[in-house]
């Protein structure tokens, strides 16, 4: 993917750019809000990663300006200001995701990947399928092959989110935000516990595993193999 990184701190910009290049993306860097806005408006990018506080127009202004001029490129906003109000402000301005500094690189990579492929996801489907796992959103039922699976509400939300994002790495933080609505880190391992309980329900003995753990990154739900 072609990614624009707007970040005034040289070390952070280089860290982000290098990490994304290693993952196979083409990365441009803009060091001021003005340059960033110009580049974002004149070149087609797949994802824009912008700092929130920038010299010149700041991250919020950039997103608002882009959205106002019809540029729909997904934007991930980075910030040292991570409280809920700022987060809501960022998303309201038109950013697609919000990530607090400091962050683990795996977190950034997973979120950029999720944003880049966002349009492929269909929000209107009533039946989600991954391999032989099937979730019927209207009948509220889940089955693997012929086996009917009973899920608790939390497990249902977790599986639905993973199936809607099948094939993507979902980090612990992303799951906490989307499934549990947490914008803080709990001190217990609730994601690990619930993923493992979900696994025990959808991968009974003899069935090929569907949820893979990516060490240091997160989880991927996808066809076995």
């Amino acid at each position: 993917m072609k990614i624009l990184v707007i970040e005034d701190d040289a070390a952070t910009a280089e860290y982000v750019a290098q990490g994304l290049r290693e993952t196979g993306h083409a990365v441009d860097i803009a060091r001021t809000g003005k340059d960033g806005l110009f580049m974002a408006a004149s070149e087609p990018y797949d994802v824009i990663v912008t700092d929130r506080m920038l010299p010149g127009p700041d991250g919020l202004t950039i997103v608002r300006t882009l959205r106002a001029s019809g540029v729909a490129t997904p934007v991930l906003m980075l910030t040292a200001l991570a409280d809920v109000e700022r987060r809501v402000e960022g998303l309201d301005a038109g950013a697609d995701d919000y990530l607090a500094k400091p962050f683990a690189f795996s977190e950034l990579r997973a979120r950029v990947a999720a944003l880049g492929r966002r349009p492929a996801a269909s929000g209107e489907a009533t039946v989600l399928r991954v391999a032989d796992l099937e979730m019927d959103l209207l009948k509220r039922s889940v089955r693997r092959g012929d086996r009917v699976i009973e899920l608790l509400p939390t497990e249902w939300r977790l599986l639905e989110h993973m199936m809607r994002n099948a094939g993507r790495v979902l980090t612990k933080t992303m799951l906490l935000e989307k499934v549990w609505d947490f914008n803080f880190d709990p001190s217990t391992n609730i994601v690990e516990v619930h993923v493992s309980r979900l696994r025990r329900k959808i991968e009974v003995e003899g069935e090929p595993p569907l949820i893979r753990t990516i060490r240091g990154a997160g989880y991927v739900l996808g066809p076995p193999g």
Partner: protein, 446 residues
């Protein structure tokens, strides 16, 4: 004390001068009006006296005939020469028959004011009586004017006194006000200078100044508490962040001094990252807490408390089970509050995680109608003496030192509770600890 120049510029003095002017104006109006009224009353009295005399003489004529009247008038002119009221009789063409020589114009009827023989003003009442005669009663108005003049004089004296006293009174008022304001200024300057314990003096009169001073003193007390809190935070940060940072530094320094070895290095780096993450978590929690504590506007979104608690109870029932514990939920349905769902969720998570970490093997999450939210465990509980203290920052009782945690969990619960108009109450669950949040103050009636 204020210099004269300051006094002239002062609001107090301007108020006093204004007050003096108003006093003068009112006094002046009162005096003038009083004078006019008094003169009028005196004149009316004179007229009444003239009328009385006239009626008396008419009665004499009726009884003793015209000659009797002439005799009576002539006699009066002789006997009562010093009287204020004199009588005269003249023919209708102005010829004097009897009585005082007043040099009157011919035929006076009704009340009139004429110039007397001595040049003074005469008030007269003339009546035409049977026999073709004109009876005239007259009084010198000098007596009336003298009385009025005396009155005016004393009124002027009183007015003069007001002219002198009113500004003096104003000045006194100004000085009193100035003195109290100066005390307020001095105290405020002291606070600005850094003496946060200083308070405005109270006069004890309980007046507007005292009430204002009480309000300002409240503000000062709050500020003192905030600054004390800030100092406490700084100390806490120094202690609770420096220690792990120092540990991290030692770890890295030790590793740097040794020969590179892939496996050992990896272990050091992993440990360092874990340590850093814990530090960052503490740091985030502190920032969050500081933001919450500084916030004053209460959140007002409608929150389905029952649903929120049910979802958390389900999530943590799984965690409890993994640890061989039980989490029971007892949730009254349909309980709604005005507030912030994200904050309430985090406060609840902190309470549940505390209970799972420090409590026994049974955790009970309850929403009673009210709504009253409570989380209790069957662990060792918290001694009564420590129950207020644990709501502070970085307070970790000795028993919990060995377990993970930032020491900010309950402080955050307290901050969230404050934003929802309540405070956490720690009680004995016999055995164990129960933390209760009474949210009835932000209830939405269903």
């Amino acid at each position: 004390m204020a210099r004269p120049a300051d006094l002239l510029r002062s609001f107090a003095l301007r108020t006093a001068v204004l007050a003096a002017l108003v006093v003068l104006l009112v006094t002046g109006l009162g005096l003038g009006f009083g004078y006019l009224r008094s003169e009028r009353v005196l004149r009316d009295n004179l007229d009444a006296a003239l009328q009385q005399e006239a009626l008396g003489l008419i009665a004499v004529q009726r009884g003793a005939g015209t000659p009797g009247l002439i005799a009576e008038v002539a006699q009066r002119a002789q006997l009562r020469s010093g009287s204020a009221i004199v009588a005269a009789l003249q023919t209708l063409d102005g010829r004097r028959i009897a009585g005082a020589a007043l040099d009157l114009p011919p035929v006076l009827t009704g009340f009139a004011t004429v110039t007397g023989p001595a040049g003074g003003q005469l008030r007269t009442l003339g009546v035409v009586v049977p026999g073709g005669l004109n009876l005239v009663l007259a009084a010198d108005t000098r007596a009336v004017l003298d009385t009025a003049a005396t009155l005016l004089e004393s009124l002027m004296l009183a007015g003069g006194a007001a002219v002198v006293v009113a500004p003096l009174f104003g000045l006194l008022l100004a000085r009193r006000m100035e003195r109290r304001l100066a005390a307020v200024s001095a105290a405020t300057e002291a606070v600005i200078g850094g003496d946060l314990t200083r308070r405005l003096p109270l006069s004890g009169a309980g007046d507007e100044f005292d009430r204002l001073a009480v309000t300002i003193n409240h503000a000062l007390a709050r500020q003192e508490a905030l600054v004390a809190g800030l100092r406490q935070v700084t100390d806490d940060v120094a202690h609770d962040l420096r220690t792990p940072l120092a540990r991290l530094r030692q770890r890295l320094e030790l590793a740097a001094g040794q020969a590179r070895a892939a496996e050992a290095d990896q272990a050091v780096l992993d440990a360092a990252l874990t340590e850093l993450d814990a530090l960052l978590a503490t740091f985030s929690a502190m920032l969050r807490l500081a933001q919450l504590e500084a916030r004053t506007d209460p959140p007002t979104d409608p929150v389905d408390l029952s649903a929120l608690v049910a979802a958390m109870a389900e999530t943590y029932a799984a965690i409890a089970e993994e640890r061989g514990k039980t989490l029971l939920a007892d949730i009254a349905p349909g309980q709604q509050v005005r507030g912030d769902a994200a904050l309430l969720r985090q406060a609840l998570v902190n309470l549940i995680e505390n209970a799972l970490l420090h409590g026994g093997d049974r955790v009970r999450v309850q929403v009673a109608p009210g709504p009253v939210l409570s989380v209790s465990d069957n662990g060792p509980g918290i001694p009564e003496a420590d129950r207020i203290r644990v709501l502070g920052r970085f307070v970790r009782l000795d028993a919990s030192r060995a377990t993970p945690g930032t020491g900010l969990g309950l402080a955050l619960v307290a901050a969230v509770a404050r934003l929802h108009g309540t405070r956490p109450e720690l009680t004995d669950a016999a055995p164990g600890l129960r933390v209760t949040l009474d949210l009835s103050g932000v209830r939405i009636a269903s």
